[in-house]
Symmetry: C2
Subunit: 446 residues, 2 copies
Amino acid sequence: MEVGSGLPRDCVTPIMQRMRAAILAVGTELLGPDRLESNSLLLAQTLRRYGVNLRRKSIVGDVVGDISRELNTLLREVDLVLICGGLGPTADDVTREGVATAVDRELFEDAEQLEVLKRKFARFGMPMADTNLKQAEVIEGARVLPNPRGSAPGMVLEVDGKVLFLFPGVPKELGGLMRSELEPWLEEKTQGEAVETRVLRVACVGESTLEERILSAYEEFGREAISVLASAGEIQVRLTASGQLRERTPRLDSMIQRLRDLIGDSVYSEEPEGSLEKVVGGLLVSRGKTVVTAESCTGGLIAQRLTAVAGSSAYFLGGVVTYADPLKVQLLDVPPAALEQHGAVSPEVVSRMAAGAQKSLGADYALAVSGIAGPGGGTANKPVGLVYVGLAGEGDPRVEELRLPGDRDRVRWMASQWSLDLLRRELLQFDRDSELVLNASEGGVE
Amino acid sequence: MEVGSGLPRDCVTPIMQRMRAAILAVGTELLGPDRLESNSLLLAQTLRRYGVNLRRKSIVGDVVGDISRELNTLLREVDLVLICGGLGPTADDVTREGVATAVDRELFEDAEQLEVLKRKFARFGMPMADTNLKQAEVIEGARVLPNPRGSAPGMVLEVDGKVLFLFPGVPKELGGLMRSELEPWLEEKTQGEAVETRVLRVACVGESTLEERILSAYEEFGREAISVLASAGEIQVRLTASGQLRERTPRLDSMIQRLRDLIGDSVYSEEPEGSLEKVVGGLLVSRGKTVVTAESCTGGLIAQRLTAVAGSSAYFLGGVVTYADPLKVQLLDVPPAALEQHGAVSPEVVSRMAAGAQKSLGADYALAVSGIAGPGGGTANKPVGLVYVGLAGEGDPRVEELRLPGDRDRVRWMASQWSLDLLRRELLQFDRDSELVLNASEGGVE
């Protein structure tokens, strides 16, 4: 099995590498065939950031005995246990009881907590049911963690030098308590040391091309500091540094600078959640330009991605999906002779589609796509995965040929990715010529 | 916490309800922040089908001591342990060693297994590295489970009356072994008894409306036999029966029949993976009809969904995304006066958009949508979530008003769902009038 993606095992801070942690998720629904436990990803991220060694995850149902037995096992093996779920008001919510049993302590109704709970219900004008009373129960010796996002508070307690956190299972509430309680606690324990990761997002470059380009950065910063995660039409380059803030920040800054120099404008974002359509939208807004689309094999996917961004009506005027050839003639003025001579999947037709859309829909830029998404429709000369993307702007339209691997969904997705990136580069006046040599051949071999 | 979605806890077969199981997933990458363990969903599904009581899941890294300690704990608590991952050829793959240590048995190189392995590599013309030799190692007393999809075989062994299965972590290989080995084993243990689930998929009906309609089925078949899972614009009604095949089948058949009678043609599919766009495509093909789209707020999403289906060029001619109002006039012949008087988000304009698309793009049917997807653009009279969907076919276009809850993505998705269902009902000549009363008011309260 591969070692954890993202960060190698040994990349932990000196102070924390001896702290061992476990996550215990509680909830019968997490043992069914429909629901995956996913809170632990968030917790694992935070633990990794502080260099804590996560040893195991366990999932048990809402059963007092199962919770307490598992917790006893964990307390023998690790130093920190993060428990999530089962703190609600219903009879099923027995995590408090399970933990109290495991550590052999009493559960008591906390007067202060009861007041907090009553005030919360009063504020929302809701009557408080008796079942909610159990949410005011606190384990002997535990500190209550205020949860402004919900009715169930968290708790933290120490048992024989081991530390247990109890978090609600609702992701929003868990995330809030993680930030307000767990992170400051870890911050204190690590005395400011942490593992920090930044991301460069790169579109439409092959993984091997990218690896080749950044070789010198591997040598300069070390293999373990840089990791490359590839998915369809997109690569994330993750840069990692550990230590105190004053050491990490300049190191990450210089890594970012160096990698940007090496990769160039193929980097489209440093935002972990930044999408290509958002970046393209931002560039169009800043330049006061508009765009339209003319799609065949992508069937509306590019328009749909552009309009998924709130505020896109400022730069997206509209588009056409010309699946049937007569519509390419009627809506985009593609000459019937071009369709007959070259076929719908050809640079000539895509160039005409882009020019036609730009003119008839009246925008600064027009993106056009035609290709064979599969599974049917391929021939020896024009196989499944052959796609032409075109862009009309100033001057003649430019067209690129792609040979995309994968199934229908993947071909369509990558074609949309490539089209958006074509526009992004045009807007940046990015010199494509040198790029093209590196990229064009790799569409098909990624 | 809610009880397991899908099937209530007590719905288990009489024979198996005493068999307790656990899943142990092995892999250091499953403890990182990027990857969720997901094999267990497949296994949980199978266990539930045979009425086995899944008590817990554990995830540990590729560490011999961690695997063996956890397995020892599990062997004290359950009767059946399903282990996945860590059977590969690299030094990291130590599940075999971990299990052998836990049950205190030897690992030996199995001559027959070695031959199988050599033949596999020879067949693909690949040299076999020495590291692959460990994949021929078998735990004393275990039976080897042939894995034609990969190089790592599975194993099954009995220890003091408890049964352990070892599966590879690659989902395709795990799925294969589950079908070829685990299911027959469970089949034998249960003597043919199983829990079987069938699904009715329902689009664009509110959850409470549906619940009301099927009340009599709850009474007839019991609450635990029917469960309702709602997501955006879609409800799954799951019907469950247990027992021998000869008992289950007629019971499920009569439940399906009864629920179809109660819900009517709002049921669009009995396929667990059936999508509305596939169903609509099938209906269009069988009737030899074509469709086009005219989208505003959905921005191409409906066209994109229709064309996501392979072979959609047989019935989807094309569409327009008219985000800017002048394009509604230019491409769809919407009268400027209608836009001025009623605004782009109005039944009048959507009706004109549908009629215009049908005529100018030349199809049997045209779907049109205009609405306010948000987050901006709402007013007191026309709030975010107000959407009109229209369909032009024979006679005058019909338009429906929706008031959809949720964020931009959800509003757009539900509008596309409603549009596709509008066409489905038209194609079925489904009497909408009685439906409308039940549905229209619920768009906004789901």
